[in-house]
Symmetry: D2
Subunit: 347 residues, 4 copies
């Protein structure tokens, strides 16, 4: 029998992507989905691509109604909204998989600094687990509150964590030059995401101010065993999906690319979704479009002393709704890849 699940925030792209992924998940059925703006309409009225899998009628958000309907709840809500509803869901005994930023940072002060609002449920920060299965798998199993990582942090932490942890690269001066498809900006219309504006208009944005910096620094500091900073620069690509992160790091020692690859290969030897590419092969965002994979290449430039670590993910899959499903599987004790076996869509 399928487990009922609820999705709060069903009209955003991550909500729509959860619908797509969970439609093929054998153990769950979405029985409740909320949208303030489209309550009363069927899901496929706002997401025609869901077709017959989108006949559920959307509800106005009500935590208790969600908890009545389902003991597993995905929160695909904006930050701030999420922390206003998660405590009640936990009280009701739900397993909460939160896609917002609200429970990712361990420090309420850091949250307030980057998100410019006080945290209203700081007591939950310690118990929430950062839902990056490749690093925190054991803590995620059976957990009640899982904070799914941001899309950019996923693309930067997965490739760099083992290298920092092993002392293979310097903890100082890390650069993450990241490029994202525009679906990462969500489905709310704004001038900046219009096709006319972006089609031939590549640009950087939020330079030095993007909130995902804090997440990257939290995870990599943990790996380093001390506080470090990351220079993160996001750019907006004229495409819908995909993140490619070009990371510049300083190797410790002679900087052997193959040794770094081997280190990553061992760290991720049993991972179903992480691939370390051989020398001379660099990933493209289209390699993982619609799939939960992370692809990583390492190059060493001995002329300049810089090592390059390049990664790609699909921002809506491994960067949000796919990773959330991976966390669901872990939390429930199911096979981790359930519902996520699909091959990427290309071209």
């Amino acid at each position: 029998m399928k487990q009922p699940v609820a999705i709060l925030g069903a009209s955003g792209y991550t909500g729509g992507e959860l619908a797509r992924i969970l439609a093929n998940h054998p153990h769950v059925e979405v029985v409740y989905a909320s949208s303030e703006r489209f309550a009363g309409k069927p899901w496929n009225a706002i997401y025609p691509h869901l077709g017959r899998a989108g006949s559920l009628i959307l509800s106005a958000m009500d935590a208790d109604a969600a908890a009545d309907a389902a003991q597993i709840v995905f929160c695909a809500l904006p930050h701030k909204t999420s922390m206003s509803v998660v405590p009640r869901l936990l009280e009701r005994g739900c397993t909460v998989i939160d896609l917002s930023a609200d429970f990712r940072l361990k420090s309420a002060a850091t949250y307030e600094e980057w998100y410019e609002t006080p945290h209203i449920a700081p007591q939950l920060l310690a118990e929430a687990v950062y839902g990056l299965p490749e690093l925190y798998r054991e803590q995620i199993r059976g957990q009640k509150l899982i904070a799914c990582p941001g899309c950019y942090p996923t693309s930067v932490i997965v490739p760099l964590y083992p290298l920092v942890k092993a002392g293979a690269i310097e903890a100082e001066g890390i650069i993450a030059d990241c490029k994202s498809g525009v679906s990462g900006a969500g489905r709310s219309p704004s001038q900046g995401v219009m096709l006319s504006e972006l089609n031939e208009g590549f640009k950087a944005y939020k330079v030095g101010k993007h909130r995902h910096t804090a997440e990257m620094e939290q995870a990599l500091s943990e790996a380093a065993g001390r506080e470090l900073t990351v220079r993160f620069t996001p750019h907006l690509l004229p495409q819908s999906r995909g993140i490619l992160s070009t990371c510049y790091v300083k190797p410790i020692g002679e900087g052997d690319a193959e040794a770094a690859r081997e280190l990553l290969r061992q760290a991720y030897a049993d991972e179903p979704f992480v691939d370390i590419l051989p020398a001379g092969v660099n990933p493209a965002t289209s390699d993982v479009r619609g799939a939960n994979g992370v692809r990583i290449s390492v190059d060493m430039d001995h002329r300049t002393g810089w090592m390059l670590v390049i990664s790609v993910i699909d921002n809506l899959v491994k960067g949000s709704s796919g990773q959330a499903t991976q966390n669901l599987n872990l939390a429930m004790g199911w096979e981790e890849t359930t519902g996520l076996e699909t091959v990427a869509l290309f071209p």
Copy 2:
């Protein structure tokens, strides 16, 4: 136990798409895949998106080797090449699902007229079945040679066949103004498919000369019970996938759009992949990206007397490799939707 299948022509887009779809098909396993140019390389060297599902080593094409390996063979070859190898595969007892144009037309003369080459296996034309399950399901079951329809014809025949058959529209003067994503042109590089050329460069092509015209006319003539012609104009969209066909037809009688919709709804009442949209809703190619669906809308313009029938498909799924899989399922007696249940990818 999984049935072994072979794919001839594994390096084109339809071959790559078969790999993607069949990777999630529970009853088959691809054990042989050919590519003249890339023989000896793993499939995922030319299609990185296949990832771990693409470890099969490509072979130079050899019909007997394919038949030795598998009794089900997909031919994703160019026309002319296909008819040179299909007879041998049939002799070897294989079930052949042909994605080329070689066995779609019943008349060798018509083939020669449009394809400008004599047909070298005309004796097979009578026994080949046109693999459009919505029209020819019963003939496809258990068949040994199935000719999968072209992408444009699928998008035109599915919406118009029942209307012509029922005498709801005039058989004369049908216009199909069709727009396709550029993956329909295949993976061979040419100036016309470069991003720089197409990105802001929408255009019509092969005006009045596209070979798919013959297929449309063959099927719709059968529906009409007499010879008719179709004015088909293909255009190339600056996007990868998707066909949208805007068909202009003359209603017989008062031209009631809802009656036409109802006629289509009844014709396709039990179809898992065909949806007739309600009044006021028009389809977009993104509705079916990566999925096997056909979406159809009908509008009537009483001012001008023209009825509009608009359809969308994914040219690589319902327009080729998905439909081929649907035919596989029918030929083998499996559930028709096996491997094709995935929801479209959006955005």
Copy 3:
């Protein structure tokens, strides 16, 4: 000495395009530009591509201030807003070049029918000239109120008018299947124009209801000498600029494509911006990107009896701001091509 000009509605795409074109016009200088939303900011704050040519500070709209500053006024305002301000500008003696729909239709009733609002300055409809220089050049010279045609109508009327006028095609049953870049929808954000939604999401819109139908019918009815209707279907391309219109018409007589081309060549023999393409060549929107050209091809399909007339324009140039500049030149008695000699930008 340069003539001062004012632009009302400087923040929309047509306003921005006027800025681009007029920056290289030797006889005028924009001295006043209005924007409700961005009043007080320099033009290049909202249109960085204007660079040093965009230093003018935007004003809140004030017809008298505009008339005080300039005797030539471009109205790049939404319909309804335009007709509320044009009468005052004319009272003040200005030459008004209106890019809105408000003065294009000769009949206030037709305007009300399609725009669903009463016309508030119907007394001006008779004196306004429809600013399509290729047809109405002599009436435009010295005119005080010029209504620039819509983008779609320009792309349909230019190729079809001479054919209808000469009785070379039937006046009944004309189809205009038109595809436009998304800049035609303006610069106001909405879900439908987001890159994520459109990138692989080609679609038709406003099927049977687009207001530009009325303009096409008005001009072609004049050519025919009697009322006719046009079946016009607009589609939204995943590109920024360009309109390609595929028109289906029934020839009178034997339907000789070369004769139709010759008729068009003679009609437009002295036109600086209209090109009739030779047999076998079809236009692409990229042929005229950023330029004021119209390119037209004619094909005849004797099998079906349909003649195809395909045209391309840049919707923001010949479809609006370029044609407005052409009208300016005529109104002022300058060389008609002034400021419009630039070659299209490709790729």
Copy 4:
């Protein structure tokens, strides 16, 4: 009277772009244009966007015929081909503006190292001037052999040269993370530049091996007064035009962004094409599409110690054919901006 000019290599994108730009240049007329592949055809048969400005018939390349026809010759040829023909053109007394890489590097050994072929006209390297007017204007005036910079180097050298020269940033460890539109790869078809492959497929390429590295290092080493290296990583954008370079540098001293901006403002105070953006504004490639501008922003991240310098250019204008025209103007003693005053095309 207009000066005759010749273009060798008229069928590539830089050749086509020269045609566009020079069509509006008041002092020159293209009288000879060569293309091996398309000799005998009119230019506008391969570049329809040139329209009536492209009626010149292309010739097979012949240096003497070019020199007979014109004393000003643009070489828009591939590297290696260029150095095989330039010596003869100089013997014939021509002013040669070379868009290839053949005369950019001062050292034949460095050329051979990066281009993997011996230089066959090394005697000309000393006399060739590197055609970056903002740095070498005086040497360009009256020159007979001008080597136009590569597109990527232009985008990196212009923003960084003054900072290195002034000792405001460290000469070591400079990173240039560059993203280019695909027109930079030229007009020869290859799988990598197909729309289907790139549309959602952003990627890095030639990591650590791109030949433009040598140019960047040559110019910035000169600025530093000693040899330095640059870590340059090119990426391919799913758009036609534009380069955005994100440069990471270490400030010397306290790292004041405004001081760096001021230094750049002073260095380029009289430059017609260089703009230093104010704090908080970052450039987009669409800001300069079709125009000869360079836009530069500077941000300082005190948390990490990295200074960011971001620049944009149009790779086909300031990155090649526009800069070549700027060099023409300097070489001939004309106003430097002649033919280059057009505003960027947006959207």
